[in-house]
Structures are given as C-alpha cells and as structure tokens.
C-alpha cells in the first residue's frame, strides 16, 4: 500500500502527543504537518525528544501557515468551538477530518449549544458527520469524510452498555454509570486543579450529574435501546495518568450470568479489540494501557437483581487518539486496525 499523508492540528496537548506516538509505528500514514500556535517553528525533537520517527518535522501554525495540499486527512486535536471552524475549512479543501473534539458528536443542535455554551457555526456538516465508534458504525465510517471521534467516558460507557441495551436484557430506566478517569482526560493546559500536588495522593468526585459527556452517552444508549434513555452519570478523578474504569449498575430480570455473557460475546465476539473477560474476572486499567482494547467484566448481584458491567479503556488511546486512528484507517480504506499490533501493554 502507498503512503498517505496526514496532519495533526494541535500537537501540544496529550491527544496530539498520543497521535504522534501512534503514527510513529503506523506503516502507511506519514505525518506531514503538525501544528501548534505556541510551538510554531520548533522541530518535533526540540519539544518531544522521545519521538524519533518525525524528529525533524517543523511545527507550523494552521492559521498562519495554512493547510498542506498533499495531506489527505487531518486529525483535529483542538478544543470544541475551534474544531468546527477548522473542520469546515478542511472539508471544503476536499480533505477528510477526524475531529477529536465534541463538535460533531451530538445530533441535536440545541443540546450541543446548551452543554457546550457555544454557538454551532458549522451545523450543515452534521448531516454527514458519523459518530466514530467502530464497533457500531464501521460501515458508515468507511464512507465518511467527517468523523466525530467519541469522548473518552462515552466510549467506556457505551461499549459497556450497548449489547445489553440492544438485546433488551436490562431495565433501561435505571442506569447508573460511575466512572473514574486518569488525569490526562483533563488536558494539558496549566490549571491549578490538575497540578501534580493537587491530584497526587488524592481522589474525589466531580461534576456529578452535570458532566458534558452525559448527553453523548444518552444519545447512543437511546439509539441502542430504541427509546429515550436517561442516565445518572458521575465522574471521579484518579491519581494516575491513563485509564478509565467505568462501573455500570443496571436492573435486570436476567439473573443467569451465562445468558448475559452470551449476549456480549455474540455482539463483540468477532471484534477483537473488545474483550469480554471470563466469569469472575474484573478488568484492570493497566491491562489496556497504551492500547485500543476495551476489557469488560460482567457480574450479577442476585440479591438486588442488578447487572454490574465494569469496563476498562485507556482514555487517551482508545478514548481519543487510538480510536481516531481506527477511524482514519477505515476512512482511507485500510484495515480498521492497521498500525496496531497485538495488544501487549506495559505490565507493570
């Protein structure tokens, strides 16, 4: 296969750096442009001395230096609000876009604008934007030129709930999603609350019932269930770098764990990056670190008639840049997991 040139807009944040890491070992994507307003003019090796493959590439500024004509696909690793304007420009230039921001995830304009407190100025693109969860939308992604890469929490929650909702095995009125995320999820812009000394040796809940990822989870769960679903979503900050563990609690009438597992295996069995763990095994975030895998543990609590689903992903890889690369692979006609070798995370 020939090389395809790609660009990263926003190389200075954690999702940009993770894309850089993953592109270093991708056999066909060639990083031709990497942009950052504040790093413009520097070589990759000056700011990321560990990224050998693209060490001599000079960082540009997308506003000042413009798009590169030879690039076929851009990854947008910039904040919401900014992303929609860039997407418009890039699509108009005839190129493809994987947008890692929230700008094209929500299909309801009013819901987007309420939660994200910004006017959506590229709504015309929404009709062609595809929600980039490959296990569900692979065929649409293949034919798309604009993919909205899912949020990290939504990826962990939707992969946990989808088969059960789709099959009607659970009571979709009672869904509690208790998520815990590593701190890379909070980004790389300096703020007091994510300083080392604020997060280390600490743990707390935040944004209970108010997290911006709620409507995204509800949208996809509702599509799975075929009815309007409301969830209770709470989030906690883990004093680790990478990893989301989501513990989902749902009422169920199906109290045989084998039936539940069969439902999940049927749905995910042929999708190699979602692993349904054996009975009694619960996932650890380190088992998926640096990978695009999602590990799922299933437990039935007979006493309270609850199904507990525990999902683990790497928020930065599967929850952002790794998934973006899966989407990009599909969009240009590659095998979905080109560039990802067998899952072999750093342990420990």
């Amino acid at each position: 296969m020939g090389k395809i040139n790609v660009g990263i807009v926003g190389i200075s944040g954690y999702t940009g750096i993770e894309l850089l890491r993953l592109l270093c070992t991708h056999p066909f994507f060639e990083l031709k442009q990497a942009t950052s307003r504040k790093l413009r003019g520097k070589k990759i090796k000056e700011v990321f001395p560990f990224a050998d493959k693209f060490s001599e590439l000079i960082i540009t500024d997308i506003e000042k230096d413009g798009l590169d004509a030879d690039i076929e696909l851009y990854f947008l690793a910039v904040p919401h609000g900014t992303a929609m304007k860039l997407a418009q420009k890039i699509i108009q230039a005839g190129k493809k876009v994987v947008d890692l921001s929230a700008d094209f995830r929500l299909k309801n304009k009013q819901v987007y604008e309420e939660w994200y407190k910004v006017k959506h100025v590229a709504w015309d693109l929404m009709s062609e934007a595809v929600y980039g969860l490959p296990e569900i939308y692979a065929s649409k992604i293949k034919n798309s030129r604009l993919v909205a890469n899912p949020g990290c929490y939504p990826t962990s929650a939707i992969l946990a709930l989808y088969p059960a909702l789709k099959s009607g095995l659970i009571d979709s009125n009672e869904i509690i999603i208790d998520s815990k995320s590593g701190t890379t999820g909070a980004g790389r812009s300096p703020k007091e609350n994510i300083l080392f000394c604020e997060v280390y040796d600490n743990f707390f809940a935040y944004n209970i019932g108010k997290h911006r990822h709620s409507p995204e989870i509800e949208q996809e769960c509702s599509l799975a269930a075929g009815r309007n679903i409301k969830i209770l979503f709470s989030t906690h900050l883990l004093p680790i770098n990478r990893g989301i563990l989501t513990t989902v609690y749902v009422k169920t009438k199906e109290l045989k764990i084998d039936k539940i597992r069969d439902c999940y295996l049927e749905f995910y069995g042929h999708k190699k990056w979602v692993k349904v763990l054996e009975d009694g095994v619960l996932p650890q975030v380190r088992w998926v670190r640096g990978t695009i895998s999602c590990a799922l543990g299933l437990v039935i609590d007979q006493k309270t008639e609850q199904l507990i689903i525990v999902s683990a992903i790497d928020n930065l890889c599967r929850g952002a840049s790794g998934q973006a690369l899966l989407n990009a692979n599909l969009m240009v006609g590659f095998e979905e997991d080109t560039g990802f070798s067998v899952s072999a995370p750093l342990i420990p």
Copy 2:
C-alpha cells in the same frame, strides 16, 4: 486527669502503627505494652524510628509474655478469628477491649460464620459488645467493656446513609454503594496483589457484591430504617495509601437539596467530626487525611430522581485506629475526642 495505661496487640500492621502515632499525642493514654509475635524483643525505635514518644518500649508477645496487670484497656489490631479469643481472655482479666477486627460486629452468628469462614468461639460476649460508631452509639459505648470497632467501608457508608434512612427520605429498596479505598485497607502482610508495582498506576474493582463488609452495612442500615435492607456494595482499589471515597446512589422523592441537607445537619450538626459540605462542594480524601473527620457531599439528580451522597474518610484513622481511640476515650470516661486537636490535615 490521671494517666491510663493501654496496650496494643498487633503493633506491626498498619492499624497498629496508626494507633502508635495517635497515642504519641494523646495526653492521658500511656502505651505500656505493644505486642507482635515477629517483632518480640525489639525496641519500638528499632522498627519505627519515627515514633519518638515510645521509642524505648520493648515489644512483647501476648502469648508468651501475657497481659500487663497495670493496663486498663487493650486495642486488638489482629485478624478476625484471633481477636475473639484474645478478647475473651482480656475481658476475663477485668480489662476493657476495643476490637478492630470484625469478630464482634455482626449480631447474627450464622451471618458472621458464613462471611468470615470461621467458627465464633466467644459468642457469649456478643450480648455486651457494642458497635463502635460514636455518632450513633456513644451512650452505649460509654458503658461498655467490649467495643466492636466498625469496618472502614461500613464507617464511610453508614455515616453517609444514616440520616436519610432514619428520616425515611429515601427509597431503601434501591441502594447502590460504590466505594473506592486506599491500599492500607488491604493490610501489611506481604501478598503479590498489594505490591507497589501491582497497585501503582493501576485501578480496578474487586469483590463486587461479595465484600465481607456488606452484612455489616446492611445490619446498621436496617437498624436505621427499621426494616430489612439489602444493598449492592462494590469496592475498588485506589493507588493511594489512605482514604475511602464512597459514592452512594439512592432513589428519592425529595428533590429539594435543602430539605436533604437540613436532615443531615439536624443529625450531624452538633457532632463536630462529621462535616456536611455546602451545596455544590464534593469532598476530597485529602481533606480528611490523618483525621477522624468524615466529609459529606450531597447532590440531587433531578432527571433520574436520585440522591447521591459522597463521603470521604481516612480508612486508617476514622475507619480504624482513630475511631478506636474515640471509643476508648468514651469507655474510660474521657471526652470523646480527647487527644484529637482541631482538624488540620496535611495539604498537600
């Protein structure tokens, strides 16, 4: 007030060390005996070079060296099963006991024996054992010679739920308790799964629906509600030393947060070590580190009609040794919080 001699059986574990720390600054309790089979014969300063006050005390073995006639109260910081036998011996010798193990917490012998896989050989003592949660049982504790110090998770969960259950504000059929604990909760006996390199930079759930602290929480919640309560209890291991954060989800018909807060303030308002945080504030485990405080945050999710209660304690201090000292204070006639100064935790 005169000095009172106390002893610690089991000085080598984390609850023993924490008792040592707290006794260093207690004005009236004098540590006269500290025991450990494996450390017998060593001076405190040889194994704990940081504990200045009792540095010259020589560690004994309770089996070989026996009880000290001058000691009025013993703290049992030994595993369940062992504790019940020692308690019997110490009570028979006319002394008082605060037992940090689970041996005298559960009022139903069968439940104890099923969950703890051991025969209870001192059941006659149960009639006088008091569950040592001072906010609820202070007056009974004062008149007791055997106090069963609550488990760490139960302390965090019961303090979170008690006022709401007592007042009938919540639906007691639907209680989900999602707890996350620091690793000191797993003890100090060397085991592969609590090695630094297994826990660091990792996070996972364990014992979902099967944790031994479940019956203890159900027992006290049932007493609060005046009816038999079943909970769904799940636990997670945090890569930090100290701290439990418990997130409780309960259905409620009372959707005004002020009504909920008033109920909690009425119950805890005069008890200075439980702090009901202001609206919108959620507790962090560092706010209670090294203290006997419990911090409670309250949130209503209108959409799903759920009350979320978040409680933070230090599992080693409030969840074990600090609470043991509160109980000991009450048992010998001191003010409950003798030896605890105003709460001023290490931040950071």
Copy 3:
C-alpha cells in the same frame, strides 16, 4: 501566655497553606490576617474547607487593605522581589517579619542580584536580617525583627554538612550534593511542567550546577568551615508531594564511623529536631513528613574514602513553613518549638 496576632501574606500557595495548617494547632499565635490578591473577599472555608480553626476569616489583599495594626508578626509567603518591598513596609510599621522568600538570605548583594535577576531595593535591611536556621543561629534569631527563612534544599544540605565542616573532619574541596525534592517545592502557580501528568511516574534531574540555592549553601558552608567553599549541587524532581532527600558525598580521612557520629551527636545531641540515626539506618522521607524533624544517616565508604551523609526533611514543613514558625516562636520569646508536639508523622 497571651495570644499574639500574626498574619500570612500569600495564603494561596503551598507554603501559605502549610502555615495555615500549623497555625491551626499553635496554642498562642492567632491568625488575624491572611492575604491573597486573587482570593480577596473569600472566607478561608470557601477555599480551604479543611482548615477548621480559621474557617470564617475573610481573605484580604495586602496592597488594597493594608496592614493590620494588631498584628505583631507577618509571614511573607510571596515570591522573591515582592517580599523585600513588603518587608520594608512591615518593618517600618514596627512589626516583625519572617520572610520565606530568598530576598534576605544572601549576604552579598551582587550574588543575590546575579542569581535572582532582580535589583535588591531593600538592602539597608540586610544588616539586621538573620539567616533563620535555628540549630545555628537561635540566639541571633531571638533578637531579630527580620528573619530570612532558609531555602528547602539549603536546609537539608546545611544540616547535613555543618558539623563535619565545623569540625574539619572532611575535605571541603570536594563536596557533591545530590538532592531530590518532592513537587511542592516547585510552588502552586500553574505551569505545564508541574502538571500531574508531567510529573507522575517520571523522574529527572534539573538545573545541575545552576540552581539558585547553590550560593545559599555555599555561604553557610563557608561560614561553617571558615574558608571559601565551592560545592557541586544537583537537583532532581521526585513524583511525590513532600520531602527532600539529600545525598552528600565528601572526601574524608576519618574512616571510623563512630568518630563521625560522635561529631554529629555532639553538635545535634541536645537539639531534638535533628536526629542522627543509628549505624546502618538510612532516613526515609516519610519519617519526617509533616514535621520539623531532620533525619541524618551516616555512611563511610572505606574503598573510596568517602563520607556519605543522607538527610531527609519535609521541604514544606522543615524546609519552609514549619521552620518559619520555629523562627517566629523565637522572635516573640516563646520556646522554639511551641506548637509542635512530639514528632509522629503519618505512616504510611
């Protein structure tokens, strides 16, 4: 003893918060003013919900709201450059100052201005400023109204080297100081390089041979040795909150460890907060966490004729705010360690 009112200028940083913690349990100092430009108007409890004693105090701005007439002593927990101007103002108002910045530590104006890249505009005060290391300068501190609180690294290095230099036991031409500090030493102003995700699970050296604390260490070591001393000082960032471990390497002709230990015991034996550990014991930073203790381990390497001195302090307590409180105690005529109980650090 009567209460004495004190003020903290700069309550929002880590040294300010640590002063707040320590003042919560001080029997005679009453915090009457706490200032911060950005927190002006807020109550202590709104920003520090864990500091019970002074929870209702309203934060002011020293520039806008001025000094409090009833305050006898101010702690300056502000950056160098700013501190000197405030010190001048406060001294002129007839009050005492403990300055936690570097502004009054260096006795050579040119050296100060070269290393700190700022003009010293209060040099007239230098004649009365005392270097606030109580083990060495207690009598001068008692009679001073302006104390320059030592830097954190210098505290750990000078306490490690002083007795050996003073007694001439070591070769003062060959001193290598390899320090490792917790991240609170880098302050609380948001910067990319101290974000959680930059520091966690990482370790590196920085500022080798160029750290601003070098001249301060050289100044005091030279005074100890009675000759001009040059050191090689290197610093590393530890992924922990608190604690400095300094490993000092010096050539020595005295190869009997007992002789070395005797020299240290003679110097520190009656000073209870510096602990010379027994032979074969090396200090751990957790042994001094949250305390004003300094723990010293001594090793002779016969093969290379080197003395290795390992010192551990808590950079935030002994290395900053705790030492400031020792100094303040001395300056107002209290016992040096008023407000500090026996050392009983959190373990773990």
Copy 4:
C-alpha cells in the same frame, strides 16, 4: 526468515512478564515454553489476561516437565544460584541461553561468591560466557551460546561512563554513581518493604557502597579504562514502576562540553539506541519507558571541574528483558533490534 522457538524459564516475575510482552510483537521468535513452579498447569491467559498472542500456552515446570526439544534458546528469568544450574543443563542439551541473573557476569569467581553468598557450581561455563552489553560486545555475543545479561544499574552506569573512560577524558580515580531506580527492580516476590504502602509517597537511599551491582560496574569500567577502577555506588528507591536515572559525577580536565559530546557521539553515534541529548537537555525516565533506548545528558560544572553524566533507561526493558532480546537476536543471527520498532514510548 523462519520462526525460531524460544522458552522463558520463570514467567511469573517482572522480567518474565516483560519478556512475554516483548515476544508478543517479535516477528520471528515463537514462545513455545513458559515455566513457573507455582503457575504450572495454568494457561497464560488465566494469569496474564492482557497477553493476547500466547494466551493458550500452558505453563510448565522446568524441573518436572523438562526442556522442550524444539526450543533453540532459553531466557533464564530466575534468581542467581538457580540460573547457573539451569544454564548448565540447557547448554549441555545443545541450546543457547540468555541468563538474566548475575551468575555469569563476574569474571572473578571469588568476587562472585563473596557478593552473592553462594558457591558457583558452573564455573567451567564462564570461559565462554559473554557480558551482554551490545554496544560493547556485539561481535562476541553473535558467536556465543551463553550470554550474561547485564544488571539494570550496571547497564545505566556503564553506558554513561564507557566513552569517557575509554578515551581517558576523565579522572578515573573519582567516580561517584548516584542511581535511583523504579520498584520493579526489586522483583515480584512478596516482601514487606516493597508493598505499595511502604513505597508510595516515599523515597530513600539503600545499600550505599554495598550494592551487589558494584563489582559488575567496576569490572566493566576497569576494562574500559585499562586500569583497576573503584567506584562509589549508591542506590535509591523511586516510587515509580519503571526507570533508572543515574547521575554520575567525575572529575575532568576537559571543561569544553563540545569535546565531551564529540567523544560520546563518536562512540554512540552509529548505535541508534543510545541517544546523546543536545546541550542543556537532561533525560527523563519517561522518555525511555518501555523501550531499549538509553538517553544521556552531559553537563560540565566549570566551578568544580566536574563532568556530570545523567543516564536514563527502563530498568525492566533495557535493563533486563529488552536487552535480553537484543542479545538473543544477535545469538541466532538476526539483526540486533529485530522486534523493536522505532522508539515511541507512552507519553504520558
């Protein structure tokens, strides 16, 4: 190229797990046998659910189940003392061995037996054992059937010092090596001192002047310098999983940093896994995490005429299993770095 079958003796420790991880992505080595006394009979996926490629392999016991006739090369990831006996057996069976223990590193039998407190019962093999540092001994390794894989600390120290010693640029009488290692270096056998709660939020020095890796460093440094060298070697335990940072202090007469750098570039310039960083850049352990890279920073301190060399490696990968794989590649005739893609570590 055809597949070559390899075996790992001792799969349960961290070096065994790391070999498993690396073999998952090696194109030609096929893991045919993995042994562990305590895990015998289990499938890889039961104990290491994250290692997809070899998930169905059943773990054997080398003593009970014997060697596999189809295996060409064995990695010994077992303790010293045990390794020498196994090596003998495997070599006699006509196979190759990479021994990750210390058994064949020291060329002086007496030195080995003194430091490791065990009799060497396979000394006849020493004549053919090659010290497996590929940058220095690649050609010998290629022709060897028994390679002694270097220790982790020695790898970091020798790579730091070799060019300077070889070229005579430094004073080899005065070498101080101050190393700090992540906790995987201490192994996976449960011991109190490596429990999470003992290591987390802590830091300390250990084994100063007495570490078993001292003679190994001295042996190789002496060979480089062509004279007998004594070093002062001190070690510290970092509260992280992976990574060694070694700070070396040596006297030098060459005070031009460019001359020093040229010497290192000349030596390492064509060896792609040792990176000499640009002037002013110091390595971070995260830059080499999970890789076989060694990053070197060079600083001259004019004032004290010292050269400071800072080296960073991943103790588990470059310092153990990754280096073992480099050696294995050479021993079977592959390119040295077969199976290692371009260096792209997890950041963060």
